[in-house]
């Protein structure tokens, strides 16, 4: 069974028939060539397949391709500028040495990008929570957190006396 859907990937519009059995990850990798999204666990635990759908991170391995109808998808291929210059988030990951084998990196960069684009402030604990859907089996978490903090400079609160921290505590 096939279904016609229209969607965009990194600003490029697509309109074609997808197999209803296909995951978005399969569609992106096998039919469109966006191999930056990685297949890790295949059950939504590791986050290697994460892509942004209308700006929000999702695990594309457990997202049916037919659900992408009408959506704007961003993969890691769409993060750098057209001329090839890395985005600020990508630069932060390079500068902090937050990339080892690189398998978790596309997902982490995309989630971090979504956080920077939200314009919101995060405490360190909240930042860790927002990144918790990505497993790094090289266990390079310290550098990853540093890179994410660098990307969110001005929006990270590390001081317990700050108004933001107090506000968060009151909410709890």
């Amino acid at each position: 069974m096939f279904k016609r859907i229209a969607f965009s990937v990194n600003g490029k519009a697509f309109n074609f028939e997808v197999d209803i059995r296909e995951s978005l990850l399969g569609l992106l990798r096998n039919r469109l060539g966006y191999t930056g999204a990685k297949k890790g666990c295949g059950v939504g635990e590791c986050g290697a397949c994460s892509v942004l759908i209308d700006g929000v991170p999702f695990d594309s391995c457990i997202y049916l391709a037919v659900w992408a109808d009408g959506k704007e998808i961003t993969t890691i291929e769409g993060v750098a500028s057209k001329s090839g210059e890395l985005s600020d988030v990508q630069k932060a990951y390079v500068e902090e040495g937050a990339v080892q084998c690189g398998f978790c990196t596309p997902g982490l960069v995309l989630t971090t990008t979504a956080l920077t684009e939200s314009g919101e402030d995060y405490t360190r604990d909240e930042l860790k929570r927002e990144l918790s859907g990505h497993l790094c089996r090289c266990t390079g978490y310290q550098s990853i957190i540093k890179a994410a903090e660098k990307s969110l400079e001005g929006h990270i609160c590390t001081c317990v006396d700050s108004p933001h921290y107090k506000q968060q505590q009151e909410k709890k």
Binding site: M1, K3, D19, I20, R21, E22, S23, G26, G42, V43, G44, E45, G47, S50, V56, P57, F58, D59, I62, Y63, L64, V66, W67, T111, R129, E130, S132, G133, H134, L135, K171
Partner: protein, 293 residues
């Protein structure tokens, strides 16, 4: 590729109910974080899916004039966590929501799917039990309300009749107004983990005594459950560490914990006794009482 034999989607509950009445074998899919995982594991094969994803009306969270809170079955865990009404009125549910999975899962997994999957470890369940949530089930003939305690029948088994769809979760004002609560999820990791034990406690105080205490437990038995004996004991008792300790002990009597690879029966019972006390102590403060030292 997933083993899907057919895929259908509709825009309204009535269309979904009509299609489901014609084809009782259709499997409903919401966020897919349970259904697709089961397919991946080979537990579900060759299924025809009826998707509820396009029914926007089911995503709504609102408070009616009489104070009844209504949560659409298709509200995602992220929506539940971020909802200002729920955060203010029933924080034990929003805290449960943020404890589930990781961000990408919370962005798609729905509260209705969590309940209908029938797992004792469902992160929303212990809080919904403590809050006496009512579930609105609709089919082609009409709708009925089922208390959540009667909905869970056994592991993975719920009281949905063929053709029925869970559309709303309702919480009456008598079940949350004036209560203070606390939710504790005990797991090996702080994210992306299934609870070893989940405890949700709410209490209402009257001067120096407990007017009411309600205790919901997850993973303490084949289904989520309530500690009715401990709750009955608490009624009218003085708020003291001795009373709280006795409530913790009595809570273990309602638990039907078993040994699994995550934890032994004895360990889970120890957790019930200890975590019920901890949750209740915080709940007392949240209900306006003095901190017990």
């Amino acid at each position: 590729m997933y083993d899907i034999a057919g895929y259908y989607e509709v825009d309204t509950v009535s269309e979904a109910a009509a299609l489901l009445a014609e084809n009782p074998k259709f499997r409903l899919i919401a966020g897919g974080t349970d259904v697709l995982i089961k397919m991946h594991g080979g537990q579900l094969e060759d299924v025809e899916l009826l998707s509820l994803r396009k029914i926007k009306a089911l995503e709504r969270i609102r408070k009616a004039e009489d104070g009844t809170i209504s949560i659409g079955a298709m509200a995602t865990f992220s929506q539940v966590f971020e909802d200002p009404i729920l955060r203010e009125m029933i924080p034990i549910l929003t805290e449960a929501a943020i404890s589930m999975g990781g961000p990408q899962i919370r962005n798609i997994a729905t509260i209705g799917g969590n309940v209908c999957n029938g797992a004792t470890s469902a992160d929303s369940a212990s809080s919904l039990f403590a809050l006496n949530a009512q579930l609105k089930l609709e089919d082609q003939q009409g709708e009925r309300l089922v208390p959540i305690r009667e909905f869970y029948l056994g592991p993975g088994k719920v009281a949905l009749k063929p053709g029925e769809i869970l559309t709303e979760i309702l919480i009456s004002p008598d079940d949350y107004q004036g209560f203070g609560g606390q939710y504790i999820k005990f797991a090996m990791r702080e994210a992306m983990d299934i609870a070893t034990l989940a405890v949700s406690v709410i209490c209402k105080l009257q001067g120096k005594t407990f007017a009411q205490v309600r205790i919901g437990l997850g993973v303490a038995g084949p289904t989520p459950l309530r500690c009715l004996e401990a709750e009955a004991y608490a009624k009218g008792k003085e708020i003291s560490t001795a009373t709280v300790a006795e409530i913790g002990k009595l809570a273990v009597k309602s638990a039907k914990a078993r040994t699994s690879w995550r934890a032994s029966k004895e360990y889970r019972e120890h957790l019930v006794e200890e975590l019920v006390q901890r949750a209740l102590k915080t709940a007392i403060v949240n209900a306006g009482g003095e901190e017990l030292v």
